[in-house]
């Protein structure tokens, strides 16, 4: 069944195929607004004199790591770059117009701080045989995203499990 996959897709497995640069510097205003939305009072996100005991300065909420590579919704000089381009590429090539995230695994290696510049690359780890689900017919796939800071240090890694399908 795997042979039914277009060559365009099989050649992507295990290889870095898309890269995202940092559209915005990490900003404490953004992460503190996020912490406010979820009512997270952890002082390492808010209070410099407390944070200094742990990491020399404030730390961005870890849940936001992937968001630092998301493009602006609107930009004066260019079109928006979609997040998870590889996912959209797979949907298009496989003619599976709908997609959902089924599982997320994320590892955090390096604390993210104010002023950091986060970039990422995407790699297709696996793609399933055709499946029939309640939502429709499609395939599952897993994309690994590796995140770097401006010093090229890997700050985290995320595996996203998707179902691409059509009704």
């Amino acid at each position: 069944m795997q042979a039914e996959l277009p060559k365009e897709i099989t050649k992507l497995i295990g290889k870095i195929s898309f890269e995202d640069s940092s559209p915005i510097l990490v900003q404490k205003g953004l992460w503190q607004n996020f912490c406010s939305a979820i009512e997270d009072s952890n002082p390492i996100y808010w209070n410099e004199s407390e944070a200094i005991k742990h990491a020399n300065e404030l730390i961005a909420h870890p849940a936001l790591l992937p968001s630092w590579t998301h493009d602006f919704e609107w930009h004066p000089n260019r079109k928006k770059v979609l997040p998870m381009q590889l996912h959209f590429h797979l949907k298009e090539v496989l003619n599976l117009p709908l997609g959902i995230v089924t599982e997320v695994e994320i590892e955090y290696y390096e604390p993210i701080k104010n002023g950091d510049e986060i970039s990422s690359n995407q790699k297709l780890l696996s793609i399933s045989e055709p499946v029939t689900t309640k939502l429709g017919n499609g395939r599952y796939w897993v994309i690994e995203v590796t995140y770097f800071n401006q010093r090229e240090i890997i700050v985290g890694k995320q595996n996203m499990h998707f179902l691409g399908y059509k009704k």
């Binding site: 996020f34 979820i38 009512e39 742990h54 849940a63 998301h70 994320i106 590892e107 390096e110």
Partner: protein, 161 residues
């Protein structure tokens, strides 16, 4: 070391405002998280739904609220079983599955977490976190360099599997 310790339950009430704010401040512009009209009329959803980042934020908050500001999260994995909409009370039910002590002031906990609405599990998460369970607070887990930290996560993940 294997264990099964039930952790305290915490609650979080969702609203249109906190679901929208969670999405917007995580730079997630997809309309199903912030545009009620789109979610109901075009997304075929009952309302806007919470995005992954906000849910992950609440999972991390559950752990750091329990173990304090020196808690350093190593790994989070979660599955979303039902969409989370506004005006719901989320209940976080956690338990420690195992504890691995790597130094006097650093232990890694494997935590399983079920997030429920009215006794129905809407999401399940697994967390690996570094904590200092002693009274000594000299060496925060945040001071460990990323390479050593990653090796700890790999080791705990391998043991777990």
């Amino acid at each position: 070391m294997s264990s099964n310790i039930t952790l305290p339950i915490s609650k979080f009430v969702t609203s249109v405002k906190n679901i929208q704010a969670g999405a917007i401040y995580s730079r997630d512009w997809a309309p199903l998280h912030s545009d009620q009209d789109w979610a109901i009329n075009k997304g075929n959803l009952p309302n806007i739904i919470m995005n992954n980042y906000t849910l992950n934020g609440l999972v991390i908050k559950y752990v750091t609220d329990l173990y304090g500001d020196a808690t350093r999260i190593g790994k989070v994995s979660f599955k979303i079983k039902k969409p989370i909409c506004p005006n719901e009370t989320l209940e976080f039910h956690g338990s420690i599955i195992s504890e691995d002590k790597v130094s006097e002031e650093l232990s890694f906990l494997n935590i399983n977490l079920d997030i429920k609405i009215s006794d129905q599990i809407v999401s399940s998460a697994k967390i690996i976190t570094g904590v200092n369970l002693t009274e000594k607070k000299l060496n925060s887990p945040w001071k460990i360099d990323s390479k050593t930290w990653k090796s700890y996560i790999d080791e705990v993940t391998t043991k777990k599997s």
